[in-house]
Symmetry: C2
Subunit: 334 residues, 2 copies
Amino acid sequence: MRRFLGMEMLELIRSLPNQIEEALQYELPLLEMPKRIFICGMGGSAIAGDITKTLAKNSKIAIEVVRDYSLPSYATKGDLLIASSYSGDTEETISAFEDGKSKNLTLLAISSGGKLENLAQKYEVPHIKIPQGYPPRTALGYLLTPIVKVLKNLGIIDDKTFEDYIKLPKFLQSLQEEFEKENSLAIELASKYYRRIPVIYTSTALYPVALRWKAQINENSKAFCHTMEFPEMNHNEINGIKNPAGRCEDLWVTFLQDEEDHPRVKLRFEITKELIENSIQGYSIIESKGSNWVHRIFYLIYLGDYVSLYLAKFYKEDPIAIPRISELKRRLSQ
Amino acid sequence: MRRFLGMEMLELIRSLPNQIEEALQYELPLLEMPKRIFICGMGGSAIAGDITKTLAKNSKIAIEVVRDYSLPSYATKGDLLIASSYSGDTEETISAFEDGKSKNLTLLAISSGGKLENLAQKYEVPHIKIPQGYPPRTALGYLLTPIVKVLKNLGIIDDKTFEDYIKLPKFLQSLQEEFEKENSLAIELASKYYRRIPVIYTSTALYPVALRWKAQINENSKAFCHTMEFPEMNHNEINGIKNPAGRCEDLWVTFLQDEEDHPRVKLRFEITKELIENSIQGYSIIESKGSNWVHRIFYLIYLGDYVSLYLAKFYKEDPIAIPRISELKRRLSQ
């Protein structure tokens, strides 16, 4: 397996708790309470925004993740734009940041350097500098923690959630042992996905976890993955898990569940698996574990990270290499 | 083919322009300018919300589509909740409507009857009654037009967009001829999708169109369908269109494009098809047609409606029947 920064993907996955501990020490700017928050980013730098939304599910102000070149038309002065680009050179994020500048939003930038750092200096807005050299999807702790802390300081993330977040590194370390042991749940799931198309279902609240699984499977395992959220899945996709029969019979469906899922969503999971099980290869039901919402979300996220690593091994893919993204960037810059 | 209300699916698809003309005549309540709009609905009743967002892309207030049992935590007095449930009995929408009531939002309800109509009467809030007897996905004109008109009266949808919307029925009628002729683009696409898994890519702005295609293919054709938006696709999924090789080589990718797509997104489409074409069965590039944004969106939506109908024929599926949704509802009500 190719080494990156002297680390293999397994070591990069293992670095998540340390990243969180390290990033919890950052000195952060004090901001005024915004009317709304836009978190702008792409790929591995954007998922931190989705997870933030999930952690701040009791927020009294709207948090929107923007994965595009510009902000929505209603973005305005008084709103906060957090630009998150691991490299600092993501063209969509730079463009959205400039859009935010021209619309007089309050700006905050997070990157390991790049143009975004330079722009932040130029506009004299706070820039949070995170360590260089990681593939963005393996820098989740560095990308997410500063946002969580900024939102905690604003009172948007509550004290209890933040206390649970501080205890997250220890919890993640205990999961490493669990997911790395022989015949772990992560290996079992990867073996189910091997040579099949994985389909990941969650509640709306947990959907960021499904997006993380999909992106990790796409990037680490170089494998196709389909996701959808409940209850919406019951209003259309449930009919579509049929044709073409030969392809659908080959899908492996995973229901990622949490004890706080709406009781009707839980019931919908139950009935759905009965209604589709004859049309698919099989399904897995994964219940989150942990003593609180933050830990339960990260139980599932971390499980997905390990699943994607094992699936890469089954496909004999280098989990670090992303040749198509590199080639795409090369051609875009011509 | 089973008949519904005396109409086959083709006739139901053909009824869209008439629905719009009819619904443009509705008398609608005058509302005060809200701080934010939540459009709550599921499946065929929710897509009207997504299309509204696309039509109101210059809106100075946020419009959010909620497909869940409750509103986000930041929903508050001064916000408008539009509950859209074709039957009026969608449990998620009823629940979100009650949530809006308890949080003192301004309420507006759209349905053909059901509990939602009764609740609107009970709470003395405006209810827009639309004709009964259609499968919700075939009632898009009735579901969308009142929202467009309410937002036009508030100034959230601009005059030019509304004028283009008024001209939409005539444009759709001209498309019927085009999509129903022998060897039409709709038939060609359906034949590409037959026995393969269709993958639909669009820009972020056009993503509601992709969601409509997916839902129509799921419900009418009983077929699996995968969608994703650009530029985010370039940051993860582009790597995943590889494994399992035997399955990915069987995907048919469709790029739905519009002249207003960001130039970099257009370039991303170009490069992406080159990078993935050896891993997939093939691709189609579909450019929207029409003299304005509203018509161009509906060119693509209507094309997808016809594609799903032809694909249903290829699979010998009754495009009207949705046995799994019916069975799910039966079991949920036990």
